[in-house]
């Protein structure tokens, strides 16, 4: 099966989706290989915890496999997947008491920084501060900020992913940036 998967890698998403929607698991394997990295990063940035992120992405991809026959292709596969993962992350957070386990992630490399230049320590600490600030954002604002700043989606794509108007997305982004800048004002 390895060899058959290899020669599908030059197919674009549209062809792979058409094939996978009809039950071609080799085609779906290429989509998974192509998209699971960015999706995991998205979930990780949203949830701040690797095992939760892995679970969210795994569930999202398996549910995508089942729902592919209904995928109409009016959005790109990537946007569709971002939407499924984002929703899952927002639901995970809603269903959970706040303040679980993110601290493990936001604890920076400061402890094992023996011999490292001070700047690296400082930038790790700044990253921890930003992670914490992100965690304190309203989840809907965080989603917009992460999709825009860490995943480079356009306003239009974000609007589609979060199911809101572009205006709403712009407003959320503005508020998220303003809050994060305030938090980062002491890190110059």
């Amino acid at each position: 099966m390895g060899e058959t998967g290899d020669d599908l890698r030059d197919l674009d998403n549209g062809l792979l989706v058409a094939r996978a929607a009809e039950g071609d698991d080799d085609a779906f394997a290429v989509l998974v290989q192509r998209h699971s990295g960015p999706l995991l990063a998205l979930a990780y940035h949203m949830l701040g915890n690797l095992s939760d992120a892995e679970e969210a992405v795994q569930d999202a991809l398996i549910s995508a496999w089942r729902r592919l026959p209904e995928f109409r292709g009016d959005a790109s596969f990537r946007t569709w997947m971002y939407r499924i993962v984002t929703n899952r992350c927002l639901n995970v957070r809603r269903g959970r008491a706040p303040s679980v386990s993110l601290d493990a992630v936001s604890e920076p490399a400061a402890h094992d920084a023996g011999g490292e230049p001070a700047r690296a320590v400082e930038s790790a600490a700044a990253a921890a501060a930003l992670t914490q600030a992100l965690r304190d954002l309203h989840p809907a604002q965080r989603a917009c900020w992460v999709l825009r700043e860490l995943h480079g989606l356009s306003y239009e794509e974000i609007a589609h992913v979060v199911g809101e108007s572009e205006q709403t997305v712009r407003g959320r982004l503005f508020r998220a940036r303003r809050t994060l800048m305030k938090e980062m004002a002491s890190w110059r």
């Binding site: 030059d10 062809l15 398996i62 990537r78 930003l130 503005f174 303003r178 305030k182």
Partner: protein, 219 residues
């Protein structure tokens, strides 16, 4: 980075009225000095290229952009946090492959009419046969059994390169698909209906690179 999206703020020379509209649109705020917060951010980022006398002397603007540099550089650090997705991908594909999706069952060309093959399995073989024709990639492939017989209709959509005339290429695909259907699978084919649904760029040896996610234009 993302804040420099031209739609986020009006050009600096725009009349105040236009600015006010934009402010309402994006939830921006006007500083006591008259500038929009987003404008101040933009100016601060462009400071190297176009010095801005207002900015230098305005306490409101300076306050509004505090933290911008730290946020930008720390954002790049978070950007680089990309955990490996290998475990996830493996787990997903194990689950997917274990979840049998047969689709409809098709009769093989067998006198006893007792042998059947799942449409998904047959379609996979036929798509591969089409893929082997240079400049052709199969997309959809549906198989429909005729009522009361073992004959099967094959409907396939294709993406092709345009470096050779289409009729000849379609004939080649038809031959390849018919051969695979009859010789590899043992189906009795009644018709093969081909549709060219999209045009392929000429295939390069390693054309698997997706547009990078960072530029925001990738599909």
């Amino acid at each position: 980075m993302a804040l420099d999206d031209p739609r986020a703020t009006p050009p600096p020379d725009d009349p105040a009225a236009r600015e006010a509209d934009a402010a309402r649109l994006i939830g921006d705020e006007r500083l006591p000095c008259g500038r929009l917060v987003s404008h101040a951010w933009e100016q601060a980022r462009a400071a190297g290229d176009q010095p801005d006398p207002h900015m230098d002397g305005c306490a409101f603007c300076r306050q509004a952009v505090e933290g911008l540099t730290a946020l930008d550089s720390t954002t790049r650090t978070l950007w680089a946090e990309r955990p490996s997705a290998r475990t996830v991908a493996d787990r997903v594909m194990r689950a997917v492959r274990a979840e049998v999706r047969l689709g409809r069952m098709l009769p093989l060309d067998d006198p006893t009419r007792e042998l059947r093959i799942a449409e998904t399995a047959a379609a996979k073989v036929l798509r591969r046969a089409a893929d082997r024709v240079p400049g052709v990639r199969a997309a959809s492939c549906r198989l429909t059994p005729a009522e009361g017989s073992t004959r099967v209709t094959i409907a396939m959509t294709l993406a092709v390169t345009l470096d050779r005339p289409l009729p000849g290429r379609a004939a080649e695909v038809r031959r390849a698909v018919a051969h695979a259907a009859e010789q590899e699978l043992g189906l009795a084919v009644s018709t093969i209906d081909l549709r060219i649904a999209s045009v392929l760029e000429p295939l390069k040896p390693t054309a698997s690179d997706e547009p990078t996610l960072r530029d925001g234009s990738g599909r």
